[in-house]
């Protein structure tokens, strides 16, 4: 294995990034962390003549709370920044927890949320929890800015709505009345394993009634998906364990997992049932801190 030759740019402005992308077209790729990109380049599974690093763009790094807008996460924010953010720890600990369970510490130190999302791997850990919290992606291109709900961002494995000369700049979690949110990653060992199933949920309660619920599933479809039938089964109903089981069954029926070396489709489907139930329960009873950092698989 060796790193092939490529031209390297580290532009100072986002506009410059877009113009470089326009100039080089499909020969160019954005480098933001590179934990996946550099490995694939070394293995020769992809080939780019130009890498455009975002490392000079400090405005894309960091997490802020903007009144009226919500929590704004720059695309260059690393996974460990998500883990350690005071703002997220206070408002959406569920995101910090999801990031904490990703890969290993070295990867979390360098991998970015922008890279994780744009890479569009079906088993990625961050999309489900951000989708469950209704996150909006801000995209910049030569024509200017546009926004897309994260759940509409993915079009297939490795594919997104991004045009060749566009980049993701921010991910925003809008202010919301949700009672709690939670992401459970089900991997085949406690650390350093890809999700076999990932389930995120957010729930808004009114007393004992589920007023609103969003469920997002990872690793069980070509793209991170909303489990809308499961959500519909919940909304307006009184919270009981049986109801959560029904939602789990609905989610397991509407996902479309494949069989691979990590698990059969049949197993994945049943795990969607189990973890949908457990994620919802945690969202309802434990607020935005799933607390499953300390326990196994949401139990």
């Amino acid at each position: 294995m060796y790193t092939p030759d490529f031209d390297y740019y580290a532009p100072q402005t986002v506009q410059e990034v877009c113009s470089l992308l326009t100039q080089f077209g499909s020969k160019a790729k954005i480098l933001s962390g590179g934990t996946d990109l550099m490995v694939k380049l070394k293995h020769g599974t992809i080939d780019y003549e130009v890498l455009i690093s975002l490392k000079e763009l400090n405005e894309l790094k960091g997490i802020t709370y903007q009144e009226g807008k919500g929590v704004v996460v720059g695309a260059r924010t690393t996974h460990n920044d998500l883990v350690n953010s005071d703002i997220l720890n206070e408002k959406y600990l569920s995101i910090s927890e999801a990031a904490h369970h990703m890969a290993g510490n070295q990867i979390r130190n360098i991998g970015t949320i922008g890279g994780n999302i744009v890479n569009a791997v079906p088993s990625a850990d961050l999309p489900p929890i951000f989708i469950a919290l209704g996150a909006i992606v801000t995209i910049l291109g030569p024509e200017g800015e546009r926004t897309v709900p994260l759940e509409d961002f993915f079009t297939g494995p490795g594919k997104t709505v991004l045009a060749q000369n566009e980049i993701v700049t921010y991910i925003t979690i809008p202010d919301q009345p949700t009672t709690g949110s939670n992401y459970i990653k089900f991997g085949l060992r406690r650390s350093g394993a890809l999700a076999v199933v990932g389930v995120a949920s957010s729930v808004t309660m009114e007393g004992n009634i589920i007023k609103d619920a969003r469920i997002a599933l990872g690793a069980v479809a070509p793209v991170p998906m909303r489990a809308k039938n499961a959500e519909a089964a919940l909304i307006g109903k009184e919270y009981t364990d049986e109801l959560l089981e029904q939602a789990g069954v609905a989610a397991s029926q509407e996902c479309s997992p494949i069989s691979d070396i990590r698990g059969s489709a049949e197993y994945r489907r049943d795990m969607v049932r189990v973890f949908t139930k457990r994620s919802l329960k945690a969202s309802i009873t434990k607020g935005h801190s799933g607390e499953h950092l300390e326990t196994e698989h949401g139990k």
Binding site: R189, R190, G192, A193, I261, D270
Partner: protein, 773 residues
């Protein structure tokens, strides 16, 4: 003084957890592994391997590769000796490069030497090999069927090794049985996954070949390389640097030394060859997958009367250490439990998959998993507690196995009782909440093989100690190989103890065929006992000479003197003293170098039948493990909470390192039990040749480990020592499987015991119960 009373003495150096002799170098990153070494003008080499599981080579065109700038040499089978090699002389079946056909995805076809690594990869792509793809044998269970393609034309029905042994009176044992039970189990292919990749740097000087290698045995490398190239062994020097783990996978030639030696000769420059992680998996030599049928006859108390093991093992494309693996699979099974009647049948078959070899515990762990599950099933049939049935059958000291292995020390019964007490077995068994279970299993292993891998009358180990001229330090020269297990530390402790010296001033030169005396290396858990015996002898020779000098210096009879921890003293007069250093310095001044030497050859061991030698050893370790698991009923997730391991490994030289071995073995056993499996696609290509999808456990997955020891003394070992490194891998898989059964009432009959298998078994059990309602 008899050895037994010495055993109870207060030792100055052994029996203590002194810091590792290489600890500081390793933790600071200063330690150099073969891959870290650079030599002037050094080239880099890579091997081109087969993309097909089975194919005829029609042509190889290296011309384009040779034209690439930076390429210094390209070699194929035409440029190397065609003499077949291997590690088991009974079946030498490998060539340096394939000649007529390739036999697995990863088989070696050609090699390049280039100015850098990048050029190597580019050059490999330019070598054009034309193949005629042949049907491949990928399923070991049908490999022996008539009409199957042959992996090697000379081995009919793809049978690599066939074993049929019978001891005692099986017919009578089964006729008189109270209960007979047959069970079937399946093991999986695992890979050792040492952290350090294999590498070798070869260089020539005036007809002498020197190779730095990450190896478990410089001696075997030296022997096989000299043989392959028709050289004198004295003209081949193999040096080991620090090695980042071997676990059996670095015992045999890897191909890197052969290819590197030829490339270095052709270019006149040093050549560094290495495997990347995927190539390590392809080269493999990991654990064989075994298909195991066990039938046992027992009396009404659960006492085993006779046992028949009927196994098939997937050998892959070459023999590697597989003949020994095949014999070990059955031969070691009667160690832990006493029974007189035993029948062992085995076929090791060739397939078009990477060759399997020796992995920690060699052929024994999977059969042990099968037998320990089988024994639990028998206990259940007879309503006997699993711990109790093992205690009833436990081997006693000074007994002989049905296949003629003499057992000296054996404290397995105490191990079981202690593990039971430590784990709270009596309070827990049958009383744990739902989803939680407790299981027990035992293990045993050789403390060194009774016979070397190839036929020779060389001693198994030898050692030399030179006390420095000023007497302030001593260097141990040993051929023993530290691959991370700590033999450099343990042997230095032993040398210091035997000499009456201090560990802190010990230096060591090890595993260099030119400067250190012969030793067979790190395999079969042999070094503490065998290398240690040679070191002890060398140390005692130094001590004898030193005390003789001291007697002359102090004008006292030599029998009145002794030396301990660097101080010579009089037994009768406590006012007399002389330092080791002063006496040693004076020795050099008056008599020349103060040197001691020692060697060890095991006694003749074993019976007369075919294969009787495999599994013989001067001594056997024993252990018992109890584990407690928590099963998530909905997901099948297995959480191993605690493991209690109690060992009888004789006198312990360094308790810290010993417990480290138990932890390490348990780490590997845990991985093999629950996660690890080399997986292939339908073309015979490995689909998880990386550390992301070949899941070794992480620190977070480790259970709490409680490592206990039984005081024991082995008369065949120096100071009473036995092995620990491999025996501790033996019980784990069966132990977890039994704990899972206890928790959930499902028996997982194949390894690994994955979450999904547990989930499926629970689901099927539920469905069956529903149907019965």
């Amino acid at each position: 003084m008899s050895e037994n009373t010495i055993h109870n003495n207060d030792y100055a150096v052994i029996g203590k957890s002194v810091p590792r002799i290489d600890g500081r170098e390793k933790v600071t990153g200063a330690a150099k592994y073969t891959g870290d070494l650079k030599f002037p003008n050094m080239l880099y080499g890579k091997i081109l391997t087969s993309p097909h599981a089975h194919a005829r080579i029609l042509s190889i065109d290296t011309s384009e590769a040779e034209k690439l700038a930076g390429v210094k040499a390209v070699i194929t089978h035409k440029d190397v000796p065609s003499l077949k090699y291997g590690i088991s002389p009974a079946r030498w079946d490998e060539n340096i490069f394939c000649i007529d056909k390739v036999r697995f995805v990863g088989d070696k076809v050609a090699a390049v030497a280039c100015i850098d690594e990048e050029t190597c990869y580019k050059a490999l792509k330019l070598i054009k090999v034309e193949y005629e793809v042949l049907p491949a044998v990928l399923d070991p269970l049908t490999a022996m069927d008539e009409g199957q393609p042959l992996v090697h034309e000379e081995y009919e029905r793809n049978i690599n090794t066939e074993i049929h042994q019978e001891f005692g009176d099986m017919e009578n044992a089964f006729k008189n049985a109270h209960h007979i039970r047959k069970d079937r189990f399946v093991g999986q292919r695992t890979y050792q996954s040492p952290i350090e990749p294999h590498s070798a740097i070869s260089m020539w000087q005036d007809g002498k070949l020197t190779i730095y290698s990450s190896t478990q045995s410089p001696h075997y490398f030296q022997y096989y390389i000299a043989r392959e190239f028709g050289m004198k062994m004295g003209d081949v020097r193999i040096l080991k640097t620090y090695v980042g783990g071997g676990f059996g996978g670095k015992l045999e030639p890897t191909g890197l030394e052969f290819a590197g030696a030829v490339l270095a000769k052709n270019t006149g420059r040093p050549v560094k060859m290495f495997y990347d992680r995927a190539e390590m998996f392809a080269h493999n030599r990991g654990r064989h997958a075994q298909y195991m049928e066990i039938t046992s006859a027992v009396d009404k108390d659960g006492k085993i009367l006779g046992c028949h093991t009927n196994f098939i093992m997937d050998g892959g494309a070459y023999t590697s250490l597989g003949i020994a693996s095949a014999y070990y699979a059955g031969a070691l099974l009667p160690l832990t439990y006493e029974f007189d009647n035993y029948k062992f049948d085995m076929f090791r078959v060739y397939t078009n998959l990477p060759a399997c070899g020796a992995q920690r515990g060699h052929g024994a762990p999977q059969p042990k998993y099968a037998f320990e599950c089988h024994l639990d099933e028998i206990a259940r049939d007879l309503n006997i507690d699993p711990l109790e049935i093992r205690i009833r059958n436990a081997r006693r000291p000074n007994t002989v196995t049905p296949n003629d292995f003499g057992i000296n020390s054996c404290e397995i019964k105490s191990c079981l009782e202690r593990a039971g007490a430590m784990s709270g077995w009596a309070e827990k068994k049958g009383k744990l909440p739902k989803g939680r279970g407790i299981g027990v299993a035992t293990g045993s292993f050789v403390s060194g093989a009774g016979y070397p891998i190839y036929r020779t009358n060389l001693p198994h180990a030898s050692a030399m100690i030179k006390v420095h001229e000023d007497g302030t330090a001593a260097t141990l020269y040993t051929g023993a190989v530290d691959i991370g297990q700590g033999s450099d530390t343990v042997l230095s402790q032993m040398a210091a103890e035997a000499m009456g010296f201090v560990y802190e001033q010990m230096k060591i030169v090890a595993a260099d065929t030119e400067t250190t005396p012969h030793d067979f290396g790190a395999y079969a858990s042999r070094q503490t006992l065998m290398s240690g015996a040679a070191v002890k002898q060398a140390g005692e020779e130094v001590k004898r000479q030193l005390l003789d000098m001291a007697a002359s210096m102090l004008q006292r009879p030599v029998y009145d003197l002794d030396v301990k921890a660097g101080e010579i003293f009089s037994i009768s007069d406590s006012s007399v003293s002389l330092s080791f250093s002063d006496a040693a310095r004076e020795f050099f001044v008056r008599r020349g170098p103060l040197v001691g030497k020692g060697s060890y050859t095991p006694p003749k061991l074993g019976g007369k039948f075919k294969g009787a030698a495999v599994g013989t050893s001067p001594a056997y370790s024993f252990c018992a493990q109890v584990s407690e698991v928590q099963i998530d009923e909905e997901t099948g997730v297995i959480d191993v909470l605690d493991v209690w391991d109690v060992h009888d490994c004789g006198m312990v030289i360094n308790p810290g390192l010993l417990h480290g071995q138990v932890h390490g073995a348990l780490f590997m056993g845990l991985g093999e039990s629950i996660w690890e499996q080399v997986l292939f696609d339908d073309k015979g290509k490995i689909v998880n040749a990386n550390l992301a999808e070949y899941r070794l456990p992480t620190a977070l997955d480790m259970p709490k480990v409680h490592s206990g020891l039984i005081d024991s003394y082995e008369p065949a070992g120096p100071w009473g020592v036995k092995e620990v490194g491999e025996g501790s891998t033996n019980p784990t898989m069966g132990c977890f499987a039994n704990a899972i059964y206890d928790a959930m009432g499902v028996r997982i009959n194949s390894l690994p015991l994955t979450y999904e298998k547990v989930w499926r078994a629970l689901k099927e059990k539920r469905e069956k119960e529903q149907a019965q309602k």
